[in-house]
Every structure is written in structure tokens, then in C-alpha cells.
Symmetry: none
Subunit: 197 residues, 4 copies
Amino acid sequence: MSNQRDQQKQETRARLIEAGAKVFAERGLEGTRIGDIAKEAGVAMGTLYTHFPDKEALFDEVMRAGKALIIDGIKATYELDVEHATRDLLVMEGVVAFAETYGSLFRLMLARGGGEDPIQREVIDAVTELRVKEFEEGRVVGWVRPGQNLKAVARCEVGAVFHLLDWWLDDPARMDREELIGTLSNFRRFGLEGREP
Amino acid sequence: MSNQRDQQKQETRARLIEAGAKVFAERGLEGTRIGDIAKEAGVAMGTLYTHFPDKEALFDEVMRAGKALIIDGIKATYELDVEHATRDLLVMEGVVAFAETYGSLFRLMLARGGGEDPIQREVIDAVTELRVKEFEEGRVVGWVRPGQNLKAVARCEVGAVFHLLDWWLDDPARMDREELIGTLSNFRRFGLEGREP
Amino acid sequence: MSNQRDQQKQETRARLIEAGAKVFAERGLEGTRIGDIAKEAGVAMGTLYTHFPDKEALFDEVMRAGKALIIDGIKATYELDVEHATRDLLVMEGVVAFAETYGSLFRLMLARGGGEDPIQREVIDAVTELRVKEFEEGRVVGWVRPGQNLKAVARCEVGAVFHLLDWWLDDPARMDREELIGTLSNFRRFGLEGREP
Amino acid sequence: MSNQRDQQKQETRARLIEAGAKVFAERGLEGTRIGDIAKEAGVAMGTLYTHFPDKEALFDEVMRAGKALIIDGIKATYELDVEHATRDLLVMEGVVAFAETYGSLFRLMLARGGGEDPIQREVIDAVTELRVKEFEEGRVVGWVRPGQNLKAVARCEVGAVFHLLDWWLDDPARMDREELIGTLSNFRRFGLEGREP
DNA sequence: TATGAATGAGCATTCATTCAT
DNA sequence: CATGAATGAATGCTCATTCAT
């Protein structure tokens, strides 16, 4: 079949998603102009509508792609057979790397998470869910302090981590990566006052 | 002088700010229609422009009013002469009460904090600053674990608290208030793993 | 009767007309904001409507006042018992003085004469009419070249004089007053090529 | 390439300029409603904005087109190798023809010349400049009376001609074309009193 | 499939005018 | 009579979406 043509089409689609990620991240769903995405992707405005029914559909696609990226990154860390504290650092490192690489997209999807669009909530919900599972294992093994509502605690952790990163991204000179990761790790493990058991 | 007139004017202005708080909170700056605010306030669209130069000016005013409300609430708690752990609970109770009362405005200003508008960052920055001061005292007194970057830790705390509340507001049946406040307090004090010193 | 109050009222009215003259002259009928006139006159916007039914009525009043000023000035010159060429110079001097004093009002009423408003045409028609009468006398006495349609010629003269002044007002350094008046006088008497009879 | 498409676009653009010329001429820059131009051109309002950034840009374009028409017309007459008086008549005939054909556009651009917009001044300045050059040649050849400031005199001529035409257009029954042209020519050559040298 | 000119509903803002005080 | 807050129709401009080429 017209494999050549099909490949072209997929490439155009990919370019649109990438362009969308960039522009949506910078200006949000409402602030983004369809024309800016088209220009960024180097195609005509009409082309966008041969790939997606409307603006929001492209937005969802961008979110979906971002979600996959994040979730896969975290899951990959879970596969490793290392002890709890090490894995914890690896997860934090992965999140910091994602924030550094994707900057404003990270903000759009996670830090100012849960915008009006349901898909945005979906992303942060999925991340939280992963953390809950991790914590459940931790409860079994014993490194989780007993008597906690894990879903709620996972929300706290997610909020703490993403908000610190949001702040740090504004001016990365605020802390070096090592201190950043240390702070993230320590706060989520021991809070402000806690001591290692 | 025209005291009657002046009072009327201030009342209209107040109605506009209140209406703005409601509609902006529900739909954000860009998503809000001037006409909806006017309808909510029960005045003509033009009236809005006799009180504020444009949409954004009203938005700023709403943010400023909200900021005052939040900051004053927290500060009031600080005045009390109680011991650290008690005050901590009181602060959390205050924040929960604010979130319950103002719902979507709380989200707009704090939970999804730091939208594009500088004024939004200002609010969450101010709250964080207040926390940093509290922590500095705690360091002196000794209830803060040594060796922490307090500014960074304050960001974590703020992120944790506001994000849990954001999630809770979606469905308050998730936890009763007591458990909510307990979770907030414990997480920010001891994290996921820490023990009381 | 309340003579005091009546006097006050007339003064307010006069202030409004003067303010109107200034603002209308600078910005035209459509470009003028009622509020600017009120501010210039130092009264509230509503006050304007106790003196004039609407914006256009004030505009007409301003035009009417300006018209009287111009026509009276020209007529005064006609009263003088001097010979034709002298009077001619005096008329030109009067017009130049008016243009210098009233600047943009002169433009509004004469130089860019005959805007959309009928009252504007009225002013320039009146001036032309005066000139026609003068020329008719000149025809009798003999200083007008025979065989001319005086109404048409008066239009030419008015156009020539007012347009040169319009140009001159842009940058009065272009010519000194003497040269200006000389040019006006000579052109309207002898055109570009004519010689003194 | 998309020659068909491109041609369509140019046609739409031309229709907008033509419609703009008509409506602007009738109602001026401020008095014109964008919607009226669109309706006149038979396109949607939005279409106007795919061709011009805003109302004023279309206005400028209309002025520019009109300016070219006028200047080219006058210049064409200058190319002819005829004697001075003949050419003079031809120029007047050209101007009258333009005024007859374009009516209100002629008024907007020339007769009430030099509206607020710089582009309007530009048109009348260009015409004047052309006349100055003509006069400079006339001075060399000898048909210009010596001792005149040619720039100033050109302003007088332009004012005289355009104002008479403005008046005549109100009611062309006032004079037949021959008398009109004769008056224009005679006045600008000999003024009210001058004699042929 | 890609294009981009055309569309037109939608929106923020302006401003002449009114009217309760 | 003077005031100026309130009014709301009117307007310029935007932008997601369509569709002829």
C-alpha cells in the first residue's frame, strides 16, 4: 500500500503533537492559538484538522503522550531490584530529570496539576496511584509508619515533590541538584521534624 | 458629603469583587466572561468598567482580597500563645476551614498555585514566607530537624498541604475532617517514615 | 429673582462652550469624548446635559459662537472707511490673527471646512457670502476684472486663503507674517501670472 | 502554484479596497463601521482582517491607492508636449474629471484635505510638490510673476482649486463644466484683479 | 492529504446618555 | 441645578473551524 504516504502522515501527526506540547505547555489550553501550533509544526492550520477533530483533541493527545512518558519512567525505576531507599532516590532523580527536560510541560501536567481538563487530573491520579502501590509494599515490609491513610499520604507526597520542583524550576540556581534531591527525599520520608526509626 | 452615594458605590464594588471571586475561581482568568461576572453581581457590563480599568484589574483585586484573607488568617493563629504542636493543628484547621469555605477560590489561589499571573505567585510566596519564619523559630527552639534548607522545606510543606486539600475537596466523603487534619499534620511533621524524636 | 443663580448658570454654560471649542477643535466631533469636555470645563458629565440636549447640540453651539466671532471680525473691517487695497490687507491681517489665536478651531471651522456637519458648511458659506458682497462692490467700482462668476471666484479665494494658512500653521517658521500676508493678498488679487492693471 | 487561489485572494483584497474607498469617503475614518465595508465588499467581517491588520491599515491602503491615481493622472498630463496655457487647461480638466468620478473620495483626500491621518496630508503634499515643480519651470520660462514664494503660492492654488470643486460637487448645476474650468484656470492665473501680462 | 482564505459567533471594551441623590 | 454611578447598545477585533482547490 501507500506506505510512503502513511509514513508521512504519521510524521506530520508526531510533529503536531510535539509542537502542541511545546505551545500548550507555554500558554495553557485557552491561551494557545491553533495557528501557533501549526506554525511551530510547520504545517497549515487546516492540516491540524485532518489529524484531530478539534483543539481539545490535540490537547488530550499531548497529555496522553506526556502521561505515558512519566508513568513509564516511574515504572522503569520500579523494575530495578534495589533496596527501598535507593529506589526512592532513583525515582526522585527521574522526576527531577523529567522536570528539567520538559520544563513547562512538567508544570502544565504535574506541578499545577489538575487543571480544568479531566485528562490533566488523570495524569496526576495515575502518578499517585503508582505511589500508593509502592507505599502498600512499604507497609508490608515495614518502612512505612503504621496508621496512615496511604491514598491521602500519597497526595501529600506528590504535592510536596511537584511544588518544590515548580519553585526550583523558576530559578535552578536556588539549589544544586544534590541538595534538591536530598530535600525531596528527606521531606517525604521524615517531614520537618521526624527522625529515622 | 455624598455619603449615601459613596456607600452605594462601595457596595457595588464589593459585589463585583465577590462575583469575580466566584466566577474567576470556577473558570479561571481566561475562561471567565466579563458578562458572567456582571450578571452574577447584578449590574450592567459597563458598570464593571467604572470600578476597574479592565478584566485583569478586577482579577488582581480579587487575588489581593483573597491573599489578605489567607494571610490574616494564618497570622491570627500565630498570635496565640500556645505550644508548637497545638498551634500547628490550629493552622491546619484554619487552612481546612478556608478551603471548605472558599472551595474553588482556594484552588485558584493556592492548590493550583502560581498560575501565569504574577499576583497568583505572590499569594503562595507570601504563605511560604510565613511558614519559613515559623520554621526558623522552630529551629531555634529545637523542634525542626537540623540540616534542612528551610525555604525548600517550606515549599514542600505548602505543596503537600494544598494538594491534599485539593484532592479532598473533590469528594469530602473521602475522609472526615479529623483524619484529614491528622494526615496533614503528621505528614508535614514526620513524613512517610519518620518517628517522633 | 435668583439672579445670582442665573448668572452662575450662564457662566457654566460659557465654560462648557469654551471647553467644547478646545476639545472639538483638537479632536473633531467624533473623536471628542463628552467626558473630556466636562473635565476641561471642570464640571460633571451630567451637567453638560442640563445645558445641551446632546453632544451635537453643544457642537453646534460651539460652531455658532465661532461663526459669530469670525463674521463679526470681517464685518468690523468692512466698516472702516479706507480704500480697497488697504482694507484688503486689513481683512487678511484679521484672518491671520484669528488663525493664530484659535489654531485648531480655525482648522475645524474654516481650513478643512465643511466637515460632515451642516453647521460647518454654514460657517464657510457665510464667509464666502461676505466676500461675494465685497466683490460686487468691487465690480461696480472697477477693481474686479470683468466677466467673472463672483460666487465661484469667492470660493476660490476662500480656499486659497484658508489652505495656505492651514499649511502655515503647521510650521509658522515657514514664512514671517509679512510675507504670509503679502502672498495671500497678491495671490488672491493677481494669481500666479497676473499683473496689476 | 496556487495561481487560482492567489488570484481569488487578490480579487477579494481589491474588492475590500474599493468598498473601503466608498464607505470611508462617505463617512470618514471614525464614522465608518468595519461591518459596512465588509457588507459592501460582500465578505465576512473576519475576511477584512486576513488582508489588513486593522481598520486604519485598510484606510491607509485606500489613501495610497487614491494618491497613486491622482498623482499619475497629473503626471500624465505633464508628459504632453504642449504649451503652458493648454497644459494648464488639461490639468484642470483632469482634476475636474477626477472629482466628478470619485466624488466623495475626492473630498476626503483633497478638498477637505489633510485630515488627522498623516497619510491624508501626504496626498495633498504630493500634489502641491508637483505644482511647485511646474511653477519653477514657469519661472524660468517667464510665465510666473517674479518675486513669489512658490511653495506658498502652490498651497494657494491647490486650496483654490479644490475648494471650488468641493462647492461645485454639492450642486453641479451651479456651473457648466466649461465655466468651471474657465474659472479655475483664470483665478489661478490672474486672481480676482490681475490682467494678462 | 494538505492548504490557507474565508467564515462568523463571540468577546472585551467604549461612551453617550440617564436618573436617583 | 449639579452630580457621577450606572446603563447597555454598539464596535473593533479574535480565532476555532470549514471547505474549495
